[in-house]
Symmetry: C2
Subunit: 249 residues, 2 copies
Amino acid sequence: MPTPPRTAQTPCRACPLKKREVFRAVTPEELAFIEEFKTGEFIADPGATILAEGSKTPHLFTVLSGWGFRYKGLPDGRRQILNFVLPGDFLGLQGAALNEMQHSVEALTTMVLCVFAREKLWSLYSGYPSLGYDITWLASRSERLLDDNLLSVGRRSAVERVAYVVVDLFSRGRQLGLVTGQKMRVPFTQQHMADALGMSLVHTNKTLRKLTQSKIIKWQSGYIEMVDEKKLMALAAHDATAAQLRPLI
Amino acid sequence: MPTPPRTAQTPCRACPLKKREVFRAVTPEELAFIEEFKTGEFIADPGATILAEGSKTPHLFTVLSGWGFRYKGLPDGRRQILNFVLPGDFLGLQGAALNEMQHSVEALTTMVLCVFAREKLWSLYSGYPSLGYDITWLASRSERLLDDNLLSVGRRSAVERVAYVVVDLFSRGRQLGLVTGQKMRVPFTQQHMADALGMSLVHTNKTLRKLTQSKIIKWQSGYIEMVDEKKLMALAAHDATAAQLRPLI
DNA sequence: CGGGATATTGAGTTAGTTCAACACAGGTGG
DNA sequence: CCACCTGTGTTGAACTAACTCAATATCCCG
């Protein structure tokens, strides 16, 4: 079914705000509003800063394609990657709600972003509450990711952290169709992974090496492969919920 | 598990959902809706579990008074406190959005919570989009807290972490009128602080001791005192944003 | 007054860090 | 086409911040 050509480059039917259509159909009016809500598209090159800590952007973004990451820095240069940004993620809400960004977002690959005007956000809520609800849903989902990361960084060992982040990326990647067999493209360096896990680069490397030698994962030329998914999952030390479910066998 | 709520005692004029009235007046209709939205009140005793990881509560809560904490656990007992819960916080949204709770919430003191029915959430969005907007605002604010914590746990040293969490608690406490002079009641143990900072109990204690001996803070009989706020702030190693702002003096 | 929970302290251990050197790949200009 | 350069990955060695274990002190509550 070919999409009719319009002014905007990407059809809003693909918009993540519409994502929940699995549960709820988006009405034609809603779709029309989404299209009007959209200001345009923004193509970010790898390495580009999309949002900067301390700035006040008038924009909201939706990621249509590509990878990026959200991070915060300390004055002396240390930085913590808060989470990786993938298609379907909603960016800049904090700027709208809190006025000023408290974190930065940088592109890892070329990214295509759908741009919204921040001041239209309110009209979205008032005119199309269902879409407002969806935004809350997205916010809630991203908070869940953060919770998981915090648990990892705060309480998991190095091996567990690496195992967990791989499992997590594959889980997100699968939902987005980014996984082929047991392989997924990961367009970041070990430094990025280290910054995401709150570890040093060297130790991240040594940990990865250990997992490679145990034939559990492989990370070559930009692709991570889960060689032994079972062992990997076991190492990942899942949260108490998962643990609760297991004993029921 | 929460006991069935009773009839409402607290006027909804004090509701955190109305908090943003500084910026925006709440209309009488909205207030009426809030009161209808409210199912009742829930009094939680210290140590009570308000929400449990893996469960599906039909409730949403707003904290009217008292302290609690949100946490996640690992199967072997390690646990990470995600953040402390104070009056004005909104709880359980994840359960509504994601169907199942991915974290637990426990009371530290007696807590008074305003209870909402989850299934009314949608009618709140559709009928009173401004309130829906407020919920998004709350979600966004709590995500900011999480970002800060993750930066702390991932990249700050032990002293910095302790300094930062104290500064942070005072900042939140001030907004809520919980700070008297330089003192604030903190109804938790060093174990809680350790779990929040991703550190061991012993090392947390030793770090606190160091800060006490340097006459920077004092923690006695349930009260933390900022003895030398300036030094404490300096130790806290604020984020890059704060650093950007300082040179402007 | 007793007992359990909390806090404090010392000693020994270790997971993770920093430093430093080297390997390797891709990309550029001569 | 090669020589070089820069970014990335790999590895060893030395160091240290934070951990665990364990004993003792202190507080709080009934």
